[in-house]
Symmetry: C2
Subunit: 226 residues, 2 copies
């Protein structure tokens, strides 16, 4: 039951991010006010859904005259910035881990990767902006920097072990890039980012769409014969 | 209205991926059969939702005796592998693009990045496994390899232009890593992967959880005083 609720919140949170992106675009286009109807159209959901999500996250606005975009954006920032834990660790300095450690937007959004970890001693010696430690220092560093959130970018086979070590060291939330479902205690949150799934879902839609368009073309060709 | 439907499908597809990951784990644990109830628990949804999603994607099984895990997995593979377009292009060979171009799992899952593109002539000259072309060759290569799916890993500021160029060249589906919502014709599908949002949502949950635990501790401390 607990898990069920967690998933439900996840979708509404996903939509809040989507609304924020839509609002940023509308703002860039010079708009100052927005109706839930417009935002719903932009985000591809129903206006009721927008209002429901807003109320879940305690975002209020003047519904009759529309919402003020700047105010909405500020309220959303408050949801995510307030009490933000700034310090993050990253485990696994392969190609993806290295790219994530250099991802400048994290820092721009106040998410600070304070340390990275890898089992490879060669990587530990490399001159990088963020230090690369061996796994034996995981607990010490996590506790020193009061880290609550970690990124896992290790191969599938070692992901669960790394996850267990992180949880033991006090981590409460994980963004997991390894293509495997991790087992964690109920009070630890895991967000799986599966790059293959993201690509596969687009491929699925494209074929779906091409099939529909193919059928439409056939209808156009043979429509008169009906 | 069209967009609304698209979003709905997206969530069910997301869940199909989740079920697949759960089934793979259950299989690894030695299980052969699974009830929709068990799968629902694993995936954190209701059993009704599992059955509804299965029926949407035409996945049938013997409900009374449970589903055969291998058969379920095979049926899911059929959804994604059948008519799969193998050829993909990637635009933007910065840190993230480079890591994605080297991501070996794409190839393992039959998704083949045939070419990458970057405006930087220095990157075009680099010795890489996958060729790096200038943007002027985008249309030619996309048409030569009959590419329908592309990955965008360019900075926010150039993402829309790159998107327009891809669509003009015949691309029908895009995985977009730039933190911006792209405008596309209705028959082009965009899947946004926003790395900051993924991390921010975990941070949000962790603080939410810590707050709940904090409240619980206070209740434990002062519970007797009520």
């Amino acid at each position: 039951m607990k898990k069920f609720t967690k998933t439900l919140i996840k979708n509404s949170l996903r939509r809040i991010f989507l609304y924020r992106a839509c609002l940023n675009r509308l703002k860039m286009m010079g708009m100052e006010k927005v109706f839930s109807y417009t935002l719903a159209m932009e985000a591809g959901v129903s206006p009721d859904q927008v209002r429901k999500d807003f109320s879940e996250f305690n975002i209020k606005g003047n519904k009759r005259g529309g919402y003020n975009i700047d105010e909405l954006l500020e309220k959303m920032e408050n949801i995510f910035y307030k009490n933000r834990e700034h310090n993050i660790v990253l485990v696994g300095m392969g190609n993806l881990g290295l790219a994530l450690s250099k991802y400048s937007r994290f820092l721009q959004r106040n998410m600070n990767i304070v340390a990275t970890f890898d089992i490879d001693p060669f990587k530990q010696k490399a001159r990088t902006e963020i230090p690369v430690y061996g796994m034996d220092r995981l607990k010490e560093i996590i506790q020193r920097f009061k880290v609550k959130v970690a990124i896992i970018a290790v191969p599938e086979i070692s992901a669960q072990q790394v996850c267990d070590d992180l949880v033991k060291a006090g981590v409460k939330g994980i963004v997991n890039f390894a293509p495997v479902l991790l087992k964690t205690p109920p009070n630890v949150i895991v967000n799986n980012v599966n790059l293959c799934d993201e690509l596969e879902s687009v491929i699925y839609y494209v074929h779906h769409q091409l099939k529909i368009e193919g059928l439409k073309n056939i209808e156009l060709l043979y429509g008169d014969m009906k």
